[in-house]
């Protein structure tokens, strides 16, 4: 059974393919050698996404979206990830923000903001929603990333953390902020956060997606920025987290699938020791193993996405994120190995896929210690 057996999912999968093709064809290798600075961000890529109907696709139809379901989102992001993981990661973050906000659409203020996201999608510079989860660098109670305090009718934030999308590019950022007593979810304008960018994130992957390291020193957010607090915030943060896990895992699975396909194709053409390298049993074994890992990752992502709105979703999606990250890293490493020296060179696409994957792993904090945040 294919996960996109529903007609609309199949259509979105085709759209994802077309969009990924456009991104790949319009990526200037010279420009993407360094992560694009916010001033040179490829807005045309986002516009192209909008033209394809992707920008606000997961939003409910009554808010101007297409109501794309969790599996549909995973399918589209996997397809985009096959072309360019950076583009898939931007959409994963943006969509996770929109989905979380949509839970609070009954609130007039949030509802209005969401409508603006769909209205502004046609503008020269569409609205993007950013997300930061600094509170969970190691575990959910960890406050080493960001501390929040209610003071003078507002909320004071202090701390240093990674923001997956540069604040200068996003209209609003959803940020989880823990006080000593409770969790809070804040919606802060990107332009307010931009002056606090310490530096560009030095990671060497996801070149289409400018990432920032924020250093907030007693940043005062207005009381209006509070989306939810206490149990409601906890639930919303879990939903946000799950959606990001799902989106980034899909991007990784797509990225690894493309790496595996490239290695298969190369193995059918390259001759060593007098025969095609695909005829070597070791190469065949590695290629088959790569396919297994990709399929397993994808199945885990889809099984998590299938229950995204249930209680067990977060655990499944976390495991999917952890498994697919490690498995897809192995796939990219093996794909490079199949190409030998060529795989290590920038002229071939595989080394970039490995760098992208490594950067995605790092976006949410300590990837390998994600499990520490879970209860016994």
């Amino acid at each position: 059974m294919e996960w996109y057996d529903r007609e609309e999912r199949a259509l979105f999968a085709q759209t994802g393919d077309k969009f990924a093709k456009w991104v790949v064809e319009n990526n200037d290798p010279a420009k993407i050698r360094e992560r694009t600075a916010p001033g040179q961000f490829n807005w045309e890529m986002i516009k192209q996404g909008e033209r394809a109907g992707l920008l606000c696709a997961p939003m409910p139809e009554n808010l101007g979206g297409a109501g794309l379901d969790p599996i549909g989102r995973a399918v589209v992001l996997e397809r985009i990830g096959r072309g360019a993981a950076g583009a898939a990661a931007i959409f994963a973050v943006h969509w996770a923000g929109l989905i979380t906000l949509a839970c609070f659409a009954d609130d007039e203020r949030i509802g209005k903001t969401l409508s603006q996201f769909s209205e502004k999608a046609m503008d020269a510079r569409p609205w993007l929603c950013g997300v930061a989860l600094p509170a969970a660098v190691i575990d959910s109670k960890d406050t080493s990333g960001l501390k929040a305090e209610k003071a003078g009718g507002g909320i004071v934030l202090s701390g240093e953390f990674i923001c997956p999308l540069h604040p200068a590019l996003m209209e609003r950022a959803l940020i989880s902020a823990p006080t000593e007593k409770e969790q809070m979810l804040l919606l802060i304008p990107g332009k307010d956060l931009a002056p606090f960018c310490k530096d560009a994130y030095p990671g060497t992957g996801l070149l289409e997606m400018p990432i920032a390291r924020l250093n907030l020193r007693e940043f005062k957010a207005s009381a209006d920025s509070l989306v939810a607090s206490g149990e409601k915030a906890k639930e919303a943060i879990n939903l946000l987290r799950g959606a990001i896990y799902s989106g980034l895992s899909s991007a990784m699975a797509g990225n690894a699938r493309a790496a595996a396909e490239y290695a298969w194709e190369y193995s059918r053409q390259r001759i060593q020791t007098g025969r095609l390298i695909i005829e070597h049993q070791e190469v065949r074994r590695v290629l088959e193993n790569m396919n297994t890992l990709v399929e397993a990752s994808w199945a885990m992502v889809c099984s998590g996405a299938a229950v995204e709105n249930s209680e067990q979703a977060l655990g499944r999606l976390r495991r999917a994120f952890l498994f697919s990250g490690t498995a897809c890293e192995q796939v990219c490493l093996d794909a490079i190995q199949c190409l030998g020296g060529y795989g290590y060179m920038e002229d071939y696409p595989l080394e970039r896929r490995l760098r992208d994957l490594k950067t995605i792993q790092c976006l949410l904090g300590s990837y390998a210690l994600e499990w520490m945040g879970t209860s016994c």
Partner: protein, 500 residues
Amino acid sequence: MSENQLKPEPTTAFDSIESALETNPTYSDFPFSWGEVDTLFELARLYPASYFRKLKEIREKAREFSDKIIRPRAVEIDRKVKFDHNYFAWDIMKEACKYRFFSLIIPEAFEGIGAGVLHMAAMAEELAAGCAGIASTIGVHSAGVCCCLISLDAYILEKYIRPVAQAEKRGEPILWGGAVTEPWAGTDIWDEDFLEKAKVVTFAKKVPGGYKLSGRKCFISNGSVARYFALTAALDPKAVRESWTGFLVDAQSPGFSVGRVEHKMGQRGGPAAELILEDVFVPDECKLGIDGKGGWYISIYLAGSRGPVGAIGIGCARRSLECLIEWAKQKKTSQGRLIDQQAIQLTIARMANEIAAARGLYVASCLAMDLIFYEMIGKPVNKAAISLLPKSILTTKPIKKIVGSDTAKKTADKFLQKAVPFDRLAHISRLATAAKCIGSETGVRISGEVARIMGPDAMDPRWPVEKAFRDAKLTMIYEGTNQANQITHFKDLARTWRRY
């Protein structure tokens, strides 16, 4: 099931190693016993105390160089090269001259340090813990010099090797490189048995007084910065294996040019480039060894160079682990410092175990290789004979003619065959491939895992774990991919069945 499906698939490489199967067609008596350590016992008895004293000194020097000179600039160099592929840290190379890393492997009689392969590997590990690219540059230089040492050619040693040590004393690095890989022949060109099927494009044509070389070499470490290359070419396009020969090529020779400098994912501190040869004249005396023995020389060279490659992988792993420990000491969670938590403590212990095991392997392989060098030129009698020989005589015309003659090269070859008997080379080669595979895989595994634990901080210039991960991956590819190494390992197992 159709007949076609029943037909067995070709079994990778083994149909080309009939000789191994002839030795023991029943695959009995796998030597999974004491073969490797036997050599070590022999060594422990043979080596003088000065060998180990020198090892300690070199390790300390390399660590100092890595801490003071390399580490503060490693990330900066990586970034600079990303945008300017022609950038090379010559200033660091000049600093390295003070530590005498370029003459490490050169015999004392030729003004070098007279160290062995183990010393080179220990240096490589320490330097790689700073920057694997720079470790690779210095390591490849030593490997290139090593190729000339294997040829046992006194004229080459005097004319080309001694000046390296002399220039180093003046603070001027003269770099060497080794050029084997070609655009259409990678893995199969590193193994003598696969040579006949390799699509070789570099050929040498005999002309009066020497040879003319034409062709291309690719992914050559130090390609754009080295002055001399130990290079392989076929004399006969129809019989590549039988005519595969080594040459010493000066990069300043007419017809020699550097093609593109590669854009690599990692190890950017050490450039890799394409070499273009268009009728490059190489005099007779610069032929390394005798005709058709190139494959055998490469086998000896690889037995020596693969251990240090494993050491570079371990250097990357070590740096990552050091970063993890420092980071975990600083990181606080709701349960206290991260370093105080069981999960991290056991992870660190496991990684240290892996590093220790991998290091043990490269030490064993390099020690075994050093025995050959010791027997060839390290014995007091041989050392005295070389040092008593007046320097000026070696480069005179008559000596040049005698040494460059086929008779002299054949004599040297016989001596080498005696010093490196088949069985011994097979054992060392097995150890070396094991050291390379385990070392490089340990490097990738540990640096990758540390990056996953540290998350975004792995990209922080204070903890360049992500760089170590990118760097480590190359150690799985160069000096023959790990898969090619494993084929060699199996062949050596197959050829040396016997109980110990």
